[in-house]
């Protein structure tokens, strides 16, 4: 295939995937809007001051203020119109724009997810690779057992245990909050968020590497006298990467979602904390905005991964 043709196919693939992502996002926004609109209990009433909400006039005013007295399809169109302008609405509770709430929370979550992702991929792939190279050894057995325990333990339990042993008992690390913003406040949250992914990536890497080791081209590479390290890095590791990247990508979204738990344990201000608080307080615009951002993150990550495939494995075609 000439490079120009390939180039064109690539571009039309990217465009069609982008369009698909936009449609998916629109469907999510619509479904969420209607799901959240059937919330029992009057949102306007719950967002208001409990001392005043007995007064029907106040409730009516509040409903009018938030536009909740309009028919649902008008509200939907209004919401979508604002969304196209990049406006996520105004929080019922804080009276500030949802955009600014998210803009304040997002950097913290982004930092946490990024650090955890780096930790998980580095350690997870390394452990899995070593386990595969020493397949059947005691070290392999132990690390794979630890890996399956790591997948089976709830994140918040692991987090609380780390907090108990490292901050409460030994007083080594801070037990929560942002502190002065230094890295040591991120250590426990990042480890907590990472452990299940380290475990999962170690398992995936191990089985993928073992599978690739059996391929003919690895035997050929060894037979033609390449150094063992060259075979391991260039042939085995590179070719094992596709399932590893798939899992990493899928789980990157999982990391994002699980900040909900980790930020709650360690009292961090972020998207996770924001969405949980907003759900509890029935702050619909904030809930909707947060879930939208989570989904957008998910969709973008998946898109990136699909594009990465082609780069890593030229056998995959986009035709």
């Amino acid at each position: 295939m000439s490079s120009l043709v390939y180039h064109n196919i690539m571009i039309s693939y990217i465009i069609s995937r982008l369009l698909q992502s936009i449609v998916t996002l629109l469907v999510i926004v619509t479904l969420l809007f209607f799901l959240l609109s059937i919330l029992p209990g009057d949102a306007a009433l719950l967002a208001g001051d409990p001392r005043m909400t007995q007064d029907p006039e106040v409730i009516a005013n509040m409903r009018a203020k938030w536009g909740l007295d309009r028919p649902i399809h008008i509200r939907y169109l209004d919401y979508m119109y604002n969304l196209f302008k990049g406006n996520l609405g105004v929080s019922f509770l804080t009276n500030t724009s949802v955009n600014s709430l998210i803009a304040n929370a997002f950097p913290h979550t982004f930092k946490l997810v990024l650090i955890s992702f780096l930790i998980s991929t580095t350690i997870g792939i390394f452990l899995g690779f070593v386990a595969a190279m020493k397949r059947g050894s005691f070290a392999d057995l132990i690390s794979m057992f630890l890996a399956i325990v790591g997948i089976s333990a709830p994140r918040f339990w692991v987090g609380l245990m780390l907090m108990y042993f490292l901050s409460v008992s030994l007083n080594l690390l801070p037990s929560g909050g942002l502190g002065d913003g230094s890295l040591k406040f991120m250590i426990l949250p990042a480890i907590t968020l990472s452990i299940p992914l380290i475990a999962l990536l170690a398992r995936t890497t191990r089985s993928s590497v073992i599978e690739v080791t059996r391929e003919d081209y690895v035997r050929t590479a060894r037979a033609k006298g390449l150094l063992e390290n060259a075979v391991r890095i260039k042939h085995i590791l590179r070719n094992s990467l596709i399932p590893i990247i798939t899992i990493s990508g899928l789980q990157l979204g999982g990391l994002l979602a699980n900040t909900v738990i980790v930020e709650k344990i360690f009292s961090l201000p972020g998207m996770g904390g924001l969405v949980v608080d907003s759900i509890h307080r029935r702050d619909l615009p904030a809930v909707q905005g947060c879930i939208l951002i989570f989904s957008l993150g998910f969709i973008l990550i998946n898109l990136l991964i699909d594009l990465l495939y082609g780069y890593l494995d030229p056998r995959i075609s986009y035709g």
């Binding site: 469907v27 919330l39 399956i148 609380l160 089985s207 738990i261 949980v276 879930i291």
Partner: protein, 272 residues
């Protein structure tokens, strides 16, 4: 003996799962105290010791008894949510695979939408909208984790539909239902069992996370997630409130995950 040696993971997993299942069924026999009624504020937060092997909670209830009874809810959630997920996933996968065309692309798009919202966040939102009780947990976990089953079923249906012997059967007048029952279901049953086993493990984990976030099964029904959620406030003084329910939870989830691994190796020797 040979089977045990060859399928060690499956056997260990099954032992752990059977252990928790019998704990749930025979809870009243094993539990030394009543998990809900035996409150006594004089016994509040007693560390693990002679009378209370795993200590007591803030209301003076025996932790061991609460953990034993808590197995019931966890198992129920794992089983019911996977029955719902498996039913939805298989049905949609079959429909997509058999009918193709617009129906197929609609179902596949629905799957993509489901996959684009993090399951935990979706479940959290569903619990918040409909309220915290056991039925809604079933809904939140039963309607959000079917995508994997759906994809596998669809892929298998597509490939089996094209097989010559199936085409021959259809040409000689076999109905769609017959095709599904005779040819497709037998082929998808083992991957579906594996997916459901792993799914039960993640549903149990997810329930505990929802409880931890305060939207799970509400007291007084004892659940492991809720016990740990309460325990979080006493981590400085009473860590046993968190440690032991967590170990119970890990036991069942680990058992199911080991079983899933073992079953996959046993039923599908290609993947290993």
């Amino acid at each position: 003996m040979k089977f045990i040696k060859k399928n060690l993971q499956l056997v260990i997993g099954a032992v752990l799962v059977v252990l928790v299942i019998s704990m749930a069924i025979f809870a009243p026999l094993f539990a030394p105290y009543d998990p809900i009624e035996d409150t006594n504020l004089l016994n509040s937060l007693i560390p693990p010791g002679e009378n209370f092997i795993l200590g007591t909670d803030i209301q003076g209830r025996d932790m061991l008894s609460r953990i034993i009874f808590g197995a019931r809810i966890s198992l129920l959630i794992g089983i019911v949510s996977q029955l719902i997920n498996t039913f939805i996933g298989t049905l949609l996968g079959l429909i997509a695979g058999l009918y193709g065309g617009k129906v197929d692309s609609f179902i596949m798009n629905l799957t993509n939408v489901m996959l684009s919202i993090p399951a935990l966040i979706l479940a959290l939102a569903i619990m918040a909208v409909f309220g915290s009780n056991v039925i809604n947990i079933f809904i939140a976990l039963g309607f959000t984790m079917w995508t994997h089953t759906c994809r596998v079923t669809r892929a298998q249906t597509l490939s089996i539909k094209e097989k010559e012997y199936v085409q021959a059967a259809v040409a000689s007048g076999a109905s769609k239902i017959r095709m599904v029952v005779k040819h497709i279901l037998p082929n998808i049953i083992s991957p579906i069992i594996v997916i459901a086993t792993f799914g039960a493990a993640s549903a149990i984990l997810m329930e505990s996370s929802l409880s931890f976030l305060g939207v799970g099964v509400q007291p007084p029904t004892p659940t492991w997630g809720q016990m740990m959620s309460v325990g979080r406030d006493y981590i400085w003084t009473a860590p046993w409130l968190i440690i032991y329910p967590g170990i119970a939870l890990i036991t069942i989830v680990l058992g199911l995950n080991l079983m899933g691994d073992g079953l996959r190796d046993l039923l599908d020797p290609h993947i290993k």
